[in-house]
């Protein structure tokens, strides 16, 4: 039954293919020559089929493509999908957290359930392949905003209408992952951001107990990078003159921002 319907569908497609060259011939592709005769000479392929017009001329002797049932059976028996594609049909795989130390909190927000659920699933799968133990998605409380507006003028206050906007939230927590891998995960999610889904991430970095020593060691470098910024601070020489505050307010430097 199934194969019969598909075959009939293919037949419809074949019949539909006939009017296409007709339209291309009638369309004025050559503005100087509106007559169809030069066009038929140039397009040798479809023109004879059009000229004969009989359906038995179009039927090929041997079908180049196998029947759908055969193709599907071959797909089921001879081959299998890649494991990563098969995994899409089952629940997302997860790494196990060794220490359970939270590293990153990702909050997804959307107005629609499908979008946020889909993207949370995507994020968890991406975390698995980046070797990050992820927990969640935890459904956080919904944010409901409601507005009541009169339907028409001030006089008709009795007739009002309510509107609402419900924000759905999902929380995904990454535990004891490598900071670079977490950054890569976040960048990947941002690259493949889904429409209508907002993201917010809190990232925590952990350091050893000797953090003070390492900070001391990195101090000269930090000072070097800060020097150009710190040089901007302090009082200008031309500002230290004995002037009243009103002169300062009227000065060109102060009036720069006004650009009037």
């Amino acid at each position: 039954m199934f194969s019969y319907t598909t075959r009939s569908a293919i037949g419809v497609g074949k019949r539909l293919r006939v009017p296409v060259p007709v339209r291309s011939l009638s369309s004025p592709s050559l503005p100087n020559a509106p007559s169809p005769e030069p066009a038929t000479t140039t397009q040798a392929g479809p023109a004879p089929a059009l000229a004969t017009g009989s359906p038995d001329a179009e039927q090929p002797s041997e079908p180049r493509v196998k029947e759908w049932s055969q193709r599907l059976r071959a797909l089921g028996e001879d081959t299998r999908l890649p494991r990563s594609v098969q995994a899409i049909y089952s629940r997302p795989l997860r790494r196990k957290a060794e220490y359970g130390l939270p590293v990153c909190d990702l909050q997804l927000r959307s107005y629609s359930v499908q979008n946020v659920e889909f993207f949370a699933d995507f994020a968890i799968r991406a975390a698995y392949y980046l070797n990050l133990p992820a927990s969640g998605p935890v459904p956080l409380p919904r944010i409901v905003e409601r507005w009541t507006v009169p339907r028409s003028n001030f006089v008709h206050k009795k007739s009002q209408e309510n509107f609402e906007r419900i924000t759905l939230r999902r929380l995904i927590q990454i535990k004891d992952g490598n900071p670079q891998a977490v950054q890569a995960w976040l960048a990947f999610l941002r690259k493949h951001a889904f429409y209508g889904v907002g993201m917010k991430a809190n990232v925590w970095e952990h350091d050893s107990l000797d953090v003070a020593k390492s900070m001391d060691a990195s101090l000269p470098e930090v000072e070097k990078t800060l020097r150009p910024h710190l040089e901007q601070f302090g009082q200008r020489h031309d500002n230290s003159a004995d002037r009243s505050i009103f002169d300062v307010l009227d000065s060109d430097r102060f009036a720069e921002r006004k650009n009037l």
Binding site: Y111, E145, R146, V149, F163, I245, L249, K258, N259
Partner: protein, 117 residues
């Protein structure tokens, strides 16, 4: 300093979308306030600072009161971006209640739908 409001008007129209005389005026007021805010704050600080001489504080008071009206923050009023109305404008959407209702019913505000509970 001339007291004309035209000094805060830009030479070219710097607004897009729905444009109204009152919308442009409000926009000019916002610009004026933004430009003159440091000066206002300096003068306000001088007026309140009791360690300054009385003469300076009185002068500052005079200067502050002589500044243009448009530089006052109280002149700024939220207006509907779609119709220019000044009444019942929602901060979330910057829309008037009527415009909000029309756009919400048309589905132009993401996530907003009719509520019933």
């Amino acid at each position: 300093m001339s007291k004309a409001a035209s000094m805060f008007r830009s030479k070219k129209l710097d607004l897009s979308g729905f444009v109204n005389t009152r919308l442009i005026r409000d926009h000019n007021k916002r610009n004026a306030f933004e430009q003159m805010e440091p000066e206002r704050q300096a003068l306000r600080y001088m007026i309140r600072n009791t360690t300054l001489p009385q003469r300076v504080r009185a002068q500052a008071q005079l200067q502050l009161s002589q500044m243009h009206v448009y530089t006052r923050p109280t002149q700024i009023k939220n207006r509907c971006v779609a119709s220019g109305t000044a009444r019942s404008v929602f901060r979330d959407f910057r829309l008037n209640r009527f415009q909000f209702r029309m756009q919400a019913l048309a589905g132009e505000l993401p996530g907003v739908k009719k509520a019933s509970w």
